[in-house]
């Protein structure tokens, strides 16, 4: 398959460990945030979202934390598995628009 994000920041974790992927967003007025996972040769896959009136949201094995004070978003993956290997993108949406602005992405590599 085709490689996406050849020059992206890379996070390497051991299988079974927890992963934390960070994202700094740009617009203090953004009210909605999404994390996407993109595997090689595929389109971005929705993982989890959070609105600006929340600080934390949990899904299955994933947690998103939002710190509006410092405009920081993080994705925590519990018990990381080889299938979690991918490029992860955060995206923000402004208060009065439907458009998403994507971060630069982080490559997660899981080794045995």
């Amino acid at each position: 398959g085709e490689s996406v994000g050849l020059h992206l920041p890379t996070l390497s974790v051991q299988e079974g460990d927890n992963s934390i992927i960070n994202c700094a967003y740009s617009n203090s007025a953004s009210d909605y945030f999404i994390w996407y996972k993109q595997e090689s040769g595929k389109g971005p896959q929705f993982i989890i979202d959070i609105r600006s009136n929340m600080d934390k949201r949990q899904g299955q094995r994933v947690t998103v934390l939002l710190n509006k004070t410092v405009k920081h978003l993080s994705l925590q993956i519990a018990a990381t598995q080889p299938g979690d290997s991918a490029v992860y993108f955060c995206a923000e949406r402004g208060e009065v628009t439907d458009k998403l602005i994507f971060g630069t992405g982080t490559r997660l590599q899981v080794f045995p």
């Binding site: 085709e2 996406v4 994000g5 050849l6 020059h7 992206l8 909605y32 999404i34 996407y36 040769g41 595929k42 389109g43 971005p44 896959q45 929705f46 979202d49 993108f89 995206a91 949406r93 439907d98 458009k99 998403l100 602005i101 994507f102 971060g103 630069t104 992405g105």
Partner: protein, 113 residues
């Protein structure tokens, strides 16, 4: 979530030609968008496809280069016109319904020689 398909999945084209990419979704959606993802890069919004009217283009993208159609609530096309090697990218459509979440198609991988 909606099931989104794109055609073609990939293509290799000669410079100066045009390619039309189709995006089909299995349910009616409110919003449809077209993105470009250049090699090793993040996603950049090209335009919002509006049903029955002209698309809304982002800065740096123009209708003459990227004409877009959206004849109904489930289908849209993006044409990459007069292609050059710099147009080699992954082109992605996304959709959003009554919720704010955008879901993406599998992408079209374009190589221009």
């Amino acid at each position: 979530s909606a099931v989104i398909s794109q055609k073609p999945s990939r293509d290799i084209c000669q410079r100066g030609t045009s390619l039309t990419i189709q995006c089909q979704v299995d349910s009616q959606v409110t919003m449809m968008f077209w993105y470009r993802q250049q090699p090793g890069q993040s996603l950049t919004l090209i335009a919002t496809a509006n049903q029955g009217s002209e698309a809304t283009y982002e800065s740096g993208f123009v209708i003459d280069k990227f004409p877009i159609s959206r004849p109904n609530l489930t289908f849209s096309t993006l044409t990459v016109s007069n292609m050059s090697p710099e147009d080699s990218s992954i082109y992605l459509c996304s959709v959003a319904g009554v919720t704010d979440t955008q879901y993406f198609g599998p992408g079209t991988r374009l190589t221009v020689l």
